[in-house]
Amino acid sequence: MRTLTTPFIALSAGMLFVAPWIINGAPYESTMGLVQKVFYFHFPSAILFLAAAIVCGINSARFLFWRNQRADGWAVAAAELGFLFGALTLVTGPLWARKAWGVWWVWDTRLTMSLVLFLIFAGYMMLRKYGGPGSDRLGAGMALFGMANVPFIYVSVNVWRTLHPMTSVVPTLPTDMGIPLWFCFAAFTMLFIALLNLRASLEHQRARVEALYLAEDQA
């Protein structure tokens, strides 16, 4: 899997390099105009932000209930990527909103819960770095709370009145807007998988280093 990581990163970087030209060819949206083109990077980031929370939550559950140490490595990797993709979502969104809504931020359900999830990832990472012994289990519990947020974030725009576009926007996209979106989504997903794999392998190697130091101490 590790050997596939570099081509994955190179391919996704190439696709992201080409993406602005493809996005430039997409038509303008009728009410928002040019600024709506932030959507082509914002949507994949947001979906992968939620995907990271699910990956982190599932692996944390595997670690918490089945004592799977390797799953903990995957959870840490997913949390870090959740933080990265969350930052991308929470920065590109307000840049779009400033022009489309006239404000940088509104405290609606989706935005607030997305910020909460981002803060859960930030808290998780700080806990894992500075929490000392037992922080892995505490962090796993936090990750489960983070995962529980995901369905609420997804459906919130359909349930509560908000300025944020509804989930029906993506399935009803016209083809000339859909092609750049799914192109960017594929690039971001490949990047996510490659980075997740790399970050997990870093965590597994750290575990091996720790095991070797322990063996050295015992000898």
Binding site: L84, L88, R98, R199, Q205, A215, E216
Partner: protein, 106 residues
């Protein structure tokens, strides 16, 4: 009428005449002052009594969309590149440490 009473009457009439003279002299000055205050008030911008909506946003108030789009795309590139660089650096360091420990073990 005694002299004292006559003097008091004269003083009273004089006081009334002085008061009348003072009024005649100061009234125009007060009028000028008041009118200048009113004029100054007219020169000041009036506070809005109601908000009037406009359909066209004044050009000075419009944010160019291209700046926001460029900032969004630029941020994604910088953040992802920074993360990849940080990850590569951490991986290199751990791999070196692992190789060192394994060689010691042998």
């Amino acid at each position: 009428m005694s002299v004292v009473r006559r003097v008091r009457k004269v003083r009273r009439v004089r006081a009334v005449l002085v008061a009348l003279l003072a009024f005649v002299l100061t009234a125009p000055l007060c009028g000028v002052g008041w009118s200048s205050v009113a004029l100054a008030k007219e020169d000041q911008p009036q506070p809005p009594k109601e908000f009037v909506p406009v359909d066209d946003i004044p050009p000075g108030e419009q944010i160019p969309a291209i700046n926001l789009v460029a900032a969004a795309y630029g941020f994604v590139w910088v953040a992802v590149s920074g993360y990849v660089w940080s990850l590569a650096r951490r991986l290199k360091s751990v791999e070196a440490e692992l190789a060192d420990l394994e060689s010691k073990k042998r």
